[in-house]
Symmetry: C2
DNA sequence: TTTACTGCAAAAGGTTTGCATGGGT
DNA sequence: ACCCATGCAAACCTTTTGCAGTAAA
């Protein structure tokens, strides 16, 4: 905890950019919960804590925070992008309930093998993968009609 | 070929909706190539062939064509959604080059096993999955700096 | 004849950007 | 002192929607 800030500071100075309180507030808020988030979530959470950081600053900084490796885009839903922080977590993927919106994270080591095979077969340098599985969670399964 | 139209016709009438020339033009255009597409692509392709179908009609019909199982959303890029037609193809996933945009489709039977395990472990009824792998294709690999 | 579907243009909603001010380095 | 980053508001772009006319059924 707090490492995120250190990592970001060195990333920023390495790029010749400037560290600002706004940037640190954004990163602290992102890492203050384990949840996935979207820009509006984040903005409202920060606003609720008395922060005056604007949405424009959030939008302007997200690409930087992604480039630094602290967060990544995970899925696009209801017209806007959703993110998660990835620093300090092992790589994982998601089961998403299309009825109640619940998200279950899982890790599967077989994915690494699949990647290895693909990488060799197609001579492809893999940077990231995102396995997004959708369906009905245990609570919602019984409500399916058909 | 042409089956898509038949499938859509019965889907439409089953729902008590109406079949229209516009809808058939859209579906024919979608299935006229193997490529992934976005709304603007599709609109311009149709326009280039003299069609007068509006973008609004494309937007209004896409949810219906998805529900019918002919197409699905595959990824969100550059601010808009991309689709592919899935009828007549086996289920597959994508390798996408983040430099040149090339898309390689692949099938991996191990994914089914992963799904089976997840389904049991989390008591989750899986409806769809989307494995989106990004990186550098063989042509672009050499241009990586670092 | 009913009412779903269409084209058009306006609106909506998320994201980006121009500009003047403020603040790291 | 330089010039990057910020807040604000306007612009932008994709997608949605209201409306009046058209055409499946």
């Amino acid at each position: 905890m707090g490492d995120e800030i250190e990592l970001f500071r060195s990333f920023i100075s390495q790029k010749g950019l400037r560290n600002t309180p706004e940037r640190e507030v954004i990163i602290r808020e992102i890492f203050s919960t384990h949840d996935h988030f979207d820009v509006d979530d984040l903005y409202l959470r920060m606003l609720g804590k008395g922060s005056k950081v604007s949405k424009a600053s959030i939008y302007r900084n997200i690409p930087l925070i992604m480039e630094c490796g602290l967060i990544k885009e995970v899925w696009h839903e209801n017209g806007h992008m959703h993110y998660e922080h990835i620093y300090g977590h092992g790589h994982h993927c998601h089961l998403r309930c299309i009825q109640c919106g619940k998200v279950i994270e899982f890790v599967d080591r077989h994915l690494r093998q699949i990647e290895k095979r693909l990488s060799k077969e197609y001579d492809f340098k893999i940077i990231d993968h995102n396995l997004d599985i959708t369906g009905y969670c245990s609570d919602c399964k019984n409500g399916i009609n058909v």
